[in-house]
């Protein structure tokens, strides 16, 4: 096979992986720290994409500002969703099921609200100025926006690594499967932490949505596809595990990129194939956090 083809696909896979990682790490963050499964995480991604579209096309703002607006907006909405709705079901018997049902209702409501505000038709967003062209490296033509995303992803990963390994908050977040009671007994203001973490998580979703907006069309109902892809990522990596999410995203992004280039019609099935293989051979994910069983 042509080596330049492989490098191109690899880079495009890396870009996909970056976007996937940004979304999935938010999902896995709130699950790992707060034990909340946010089924509507993909909807916050979608909100991010729409907010970016709104900021750029209606308010004529700079794209990079619109990315910040999207992250902030999705974060604030996430905090509202957590403090107004989700909080009410914490501690209920069979809370896990109710979390899914409640966040499922968010998906439905957000989908239609988006449709109500922006209409059902596709929206598209131009790449930011300065990143519309491509860069020539050793005979390869690489879209500069793709490189920008990969770069941003690297910055986020390094920052996350610093936070996770150097700060107290990070250490709390890293200890997988913490329960809220335990956080409380460590002297953490649990309700506030939950809201903040939820906000950070949805902000990451919105951030990814905004970055992806110039690459994919913005459309209502996108949330569910995004959530399924991020779920596959965390299934591969092991739920609640930050580095697992990174590895999962990388695998999925690359598989997808090569599949799109070779069998475009059936590419999306490869995501599921990876998931099924993981399930068969390592059902708890590649980076499973050890399970603590209590009798």
């Amino acid at each position: 096979m042509d080596p330049s083809f492989i490098i191109m696909q690899f880079l495009s896979g890396l870009m996909m992986a970056t976007l996937l990682f940004l979304v999935a790490s938010g999902l896995t963050l709130i699950f790992g720290v707060g034990n909340v499964f946010n089924f509507a995480h993909g909807s916050f991604y979608m909100i991010g994409a729409y907010l970016a579209y709104q900021t750029v096309s209606a308010w004529h703002a700079n794209f990079w500002i619109s990315v910040l607006v999207a992250a902030l907006g999705a974060g604030v909405l996430g905090m509202i969703a957590e403090s107004v709705f989700l909080r009410r079901i914490y501690g209920r018997a069979e809370e896990g099921g109710f979390q899914i049902l409640l966040t499922y209702s968010f998906i439905l409501v957000i989908d239609d609200l988006v449709k109500l505000i922006w209409g059902a038709e596709y929206k598209s967003l131009a790449r930011p100025t300065g990143f519309r062209g491509a860069i020539e490296i050793g005979g390869l033509t690489i879209p500069s926006y793709n490189l920008a995303i990969i770069g941003i992803g690297l910055v986020v990963v390094v920052m996350a690594w610093l936070i996770l390994s150097r700060t107290r908050t990070g250490r709390i977040a890293r200890a997988a499967a913490l329960d809220r009671e335990m956080l409380g007994s460590m002297g953490v203001n649990v309700p506030l932490t939950m809201t903040l973490v939820f906000g950070i998580a949805t902000a990451m979703g919105g951030f990814a949505g905004a970055l992806a907006a110039p690459l994919r069309s913005v459309v209502p109902g996108a949330g569910i596809e995004v959530i399924i892809d991020s779920l596959i990522v965390v299934v591969i990596g092991g739920m609640g595990n930050f580095w697992g999410a990174w590895l999962g995203a990388l695998i999925l992004g690359e598989v997808n990129s090569f599949a799109v280039a070779t069998v475009p019609d059936w590419a999306s099935l490869f995501n599921y194939l990876v998931m099924v293989l993981t399930l068969i051979f390592k059902p708890e994910g590649l980076f499973a956090s050890r399970k603590i069983r209590k009798v």
Partner: protein
């Protein structure tokens, strides 16, 4: 307590046969007959789903897979081999749902809680995508039209009674199951799976069993539906179909055997009244779901029961603990 359950059961069956038996006699229009047929089929589907969620505590977000499998078995057989294959096709749907649910079940029961939900969703979407893209075989986005049941079943009233019979038998079977030793074990698995292991029982094995049973009835619902609507479409596999059946169960009450049926009736009637007039159907069901989860977590039937219980002196806190499944 026991008598109470008996009375509830008798009341349900009496109402069931009176209402659904009389509809074809009172209504001359096909419209309401089809509506009643939808309620029957979705009601049974929701009850079968609730065997997983309400009884065993497994929230599957992928039962649409088996519903679609049942429908497409009928659609494809009738389209390719003629309407005479309608009934065998329902059987084929049941068989393939059983086999597929064993295969997928073996994978998804390896994980529990949220993972289980997510994986069932993913498998459902996988099959939806295949159906959607495999245009030559499945008709893709267009689905399959003019699936007419053979012989006298082509008559709407006859077909209605045919469904009524099968649905009644299915509900009866599920009812027996809930009150049987196996049903007891399933309820115990939801409440305390670790203790069930200490009873010398295999939790996963039992979860697989009920997953297969529930999927079987989902496929029956799909097969019957193909004959009511005379057409099928890939959305039957789509995750929103799974979501809708969940909503029906939650509205009626997942802690109640008959609750999901009532929930199905309600949703279908609401859909009939408002759904036709709005494009914001998902906003409506989203808000309903939100209200149910936040304010009425036991579902309508469960909350009514709780309300009545408040006036009985011996039942101070009955049902306050979790979602008591009253069999």
């Amino acid at each position: 307590m026991k008598n109470h359950a008996k009375i509830k059961e008798v009341v349900f069956w009496a109402l069931f046969f009176v209402i659904f038996g009389l509809i074809p006699l009172l209504e001359k229009s096909d419209y309401h007959l089809i509506l009643a047929n939808h309620i029957l089929i979705w009601g049974m589907f929701a009850m079968a789903f609730n065997m997983l969620f309400g009884v065993t505590g497994m929230l599957s977000f992928g039962q649409a897979l088996y519903y679609g499998l049942g429908a497409y078995s009928v659609g494809l057989m009738v389209k390719n081999f003629g309407d005479i294959w309608f009934l065998p096709a329902i059987g084929l749907g049941l068989l393939s749902a059983t086999l597929v649910s064993i295969l997928i079940g073996l994978l998804v029961i390896r994980v529990s809680g949220v993972y289980f939900t997510v994986l069932t969703l993913a498998f459902g979407q996988l099959v939806w995508q295949i159906t959607f893209k495999w245009y030559h075989f499945t008709g893709g986005d267009d689905g399959i039209q003019s699936i007419i049941p053979p012989g006298i079943l082509a008559n709407h009233t006859v077909y209605y009674f045919f469904t009524l019979l099968l649905v009644a038998v299915s509900i009866w079977v599920l009812r027996r199951l809930v009150n049987s030793p196996m049903g007891l074990v399933l309820r115990c698995i939801r409440q305390n799976p670790d203790r069930v292991r200490f009873l010398g029982r295999r939790v996963r094995r039992n979860q697989l069993r009920i997953y297969v049973i529930s999927s079987f009835f989902a496929a029956l619902a799909g097969g019957l539906m193909a004959g009511v609507d005379n057409s099928i479409h890939p959305d039957m596999f789509y995750w929103t179909t799974s979501g809708e059946v969940i909503l029906m169960a939650v509205i009626g009450g997942i802690g109640q055997f008959f609750g999901p049926f009532i929930g199905a009736a309600l949703i279908i009637i609401i859909q009939d009244v408002v759904g036709a007039r709005t494009e914001y159907w998902s906003l409506i069901i989203g808000l309903i779901m939100m209200v149910m989860v936040l304010i009425l977590p036991k579902g309508l039937v469960g909350e009514v029961q709780l309300l009545r219980g408040r006036f009985r002196p011996d039942a101070k806190n009955r049902g306050e603990n979790g979602t008591t499944f009253s069999a």
